[in-house]
Amino acid sequence: MMALLLPALVGGVLTGGVYALVALGLTLIYGVLHIVNFAHGSLLMVAMFGAWLLATRLGLDPLAAVPLMAGAMFAIGWGLYRFVIGPVGRGDDRGVLLATLGVAVVLDNAALIAFTGDSRSIETPYALQMVQAGPLLIPLAKLVAFAGAMLIALLLWAFMALTDTGRAIRAVAREPEGAALVGIRPARIFALAYGIGIACLGAAGCLLLPSFYVSPQVGGMFVLVAFTVVVLGGMGSFPGAVVGALLVGITENLGNLYLGESLGPICVPLLFIAVLLVRPTGLFGAVR
């Protein structure tokens, strides 16, 4: 088992990269805006099907499709908030929660009608390529996804910390009435931030597709773990989302290795409980 420790650690880091991809958009939506976005998994599924359609119908490589899908998903996210979630939720947390749940049900079932329950995957020239690092064989597609996750985290952090729009988002999240008094329009900012969060899923979908499969249910595989990552890392913290995702990935892999694939999955919830007992705001969460 010791010989498997290093490969399992590396595997955990790469899996963590995948979780970070999905969690980054959520940390903005859930962590900053406090919208419990039940539609997150379904929108990831939409992004993955989008990338799949572009690859199979137009021959566009998923990596080349990242800007296009990020843009398209931003538009979808912005529109969803502006015309569905915002008006239905009316600022009430329960209303917003139910609205996102409704969106998830509609999207999942629309995908079932359009694509059936079948799982699909694509074969790109690099999908099965491996990078040899000593005794380790690392899937190239996962390395690229990991790098993509780090880049997105950096860009999001810079956007939120250094731009006026980022400051406006943070202001609205913390004090909507005060923000409105200084001329920020909260409804517009919410739609914008939701759109940016969903744009991250556009990139995530493209980066995931070469190493995973897509089906109408695929979002459910990631959404719960993404919520775990966001709370574990600290609500609204981008470095927290990355560190949380890596911790979850590594814990999951080592748990599965040493406790088996059936008992192993208890390790992540145990880690989650332990961290929240010691640091209720999460690893990187600001104490208010």
Partner: protein, 401 residues
């Protein structure tokens, strides 16, 4: 004057009905058939495929004039989505009982079928199992549960015989194995049976690894396989995990004499076509049609021409309804007290499966069997036994480069 015509037509029909013998008048114009499958959730693909098969059977039976003994009564599907959850499958049976279904088919997965048949037994509703393979489904002594298709013991015994024949023909290169299974009833029971039987053909099991459904990443499992360095990898799980596992086996360049599955959930034509490199030379012992029967070839073409994926689940769904309808037709009634004995006495033979004569013993058809299949150049070929084969086996497979 359409109003007058309608009334006249109605009166004429009423008069005609009154003149019929009482027995015929009592026959239903429609016979409801419940279909319970997971058409959403992680098992949605297989469940939808079974439902497609069932719907196609109903279409065929109705097109051929319905149930003759019931005055040409047409079959009406009452579909239900079990969502992959046993408690939902069971509650669907209650709903269908209220709707007075004459029989139920389902449920794609064994754990769903176990729950649904248990509930159906309360009402004595005839239950025709499609792809649930666990022996326990028919071995609990429920007089309303029938399986036309092979059970786990049959499939596993035949799968072992197939593996032994392939191995001996190649000079016995396979001596050790690792078994990977999903950890619900289907995977666990198959893995247990496989573990017991492999020793009898001189293959030692080095490790048995269980995993949950769904599992997102198989790197760990494959690393364990790699460190055990077996000649054979035996897999028994559902589609997504099946394909992710094989993809990781390919990526990690695990050298095997063969990767072999029994009732492999992911062994399908889309898998063969979407991932030709990963799926190449994968062997599965599974349910399949007789590739030499022209009716089977025509059926496959019909399904594919309609834009669907052809697979073994479609055959399960199709014939589960056909044998149930045959039993109702022979019973001449939808009364379970008459349909269940008729089902038990079935000698249904209007199929194009590689089966022997139909004979039910405690709800299990003794004539059912599977075939050894292999993916070769993005298509599924039958490789064992020779009488049903349409290709030669590739065993051992070429070494991973």
């Amino acid at each position: 004057m359409p109003h007058m015509l309608t009334r006249r037509a109605a009166l004429a029909a009423g008069a005609a009905a009154l003149s019929l013998p009482a027995a015929l008048r009592a026959q239903p114009a429609e016979v409801k058939i419940g279909m319970i499958h997971p058409v959403t959730g992680p098992l949605a693909f297989g469940g939808s495929q079974c439902r497609l098969g069932g719907m196609t059977a109903i279409e065929d039976i109705n097109a051929a004039g319905g149930l003759r003994s019931l005055g040409g009564a047409r079959l009406l599907a009452v579909p239900g989505d079990a969502q992959g959850k046993a408690e939902i499958a069971a509650s669907l049976v209650d709903q269908m009982a209220e709707q007075k279904v004459a029989g139920i088919t389902g449920c794609y997965a064994s754990n769903l079928a176990l729950a649904a048949t248990q509930t159906a037994a309360k009402y004595n509703i005839p239950f025709s199992i499609d792809s649930g393979i666990a022996d326990s489904i028919t071995a609990r002594g429920l007089a309303n549960v029938f399986r036309f298709f092979p059970n786990n013991t049959t499939m596993t015994n035949q799968a072992i015989a197939c593996l032994d024949a392939l191995n001996k023909a190649a000079g016995g290169p396979a001596k050790t194995a690792v078994i990977v299974h999903e950890n619900s009833e289907f995977g666990t029971s198959t893995a247990k049976l496989l573990g017991e039987r492999l020793g009898t053909i001189g293959i030692a099991v080095k490790e048995t690894i269980g995993h949950a459904t769904p599992t997102r990443d198989f790197t760990n499992v494959v690393l364990r396989i790699k460190s055990a360095a077996p000649d054979l990898l035996l897999i028994t799980n559902y589609p997504n995990e099946y394909q992710l596992l094989l993809r990781t086996v390919y990526q990690q360049k695990v050298n095997l004499v063969a990767a072999y599955s029994v009732s492999g959930g992911g062994f399908s034509l889309p898998f063969a076509k979407d991932q030709p490199q990963v799926s190449q030379f994968m062997i599965d012992y599974n349910h399949w049609h007789n590739p030499h029967d022209p009716r089977a070839i025509a059926f496959r073409k019909r399904i594919e021409d309609a834009g669907h994926v052809f697979g073994w689940e479609v055959l399960f769904g199709y014939f589960a309804v056909r044998v149930l309808a045959d039993a109702i037709d022979r019973a001449g009634s939808i009364d379970p007290a008459r349909v269940n004995p008729a089902f038990a006495a079935s000698t249904f033979s209007d199929d194009w499966l590689p089966y022997g004569p139909t004979r039910f013993v405690q709800g299990q058809n003794q004539g059912a069997r599977g075939l050894g299949l292999q993916i070769q150049d993005a298509d599924i070929k039958a490789i064992w036994p020779a009488e049903f084969a349409d290709a030669k086996p590739v065993f051992p497979r070429p070494r991973a480069s």
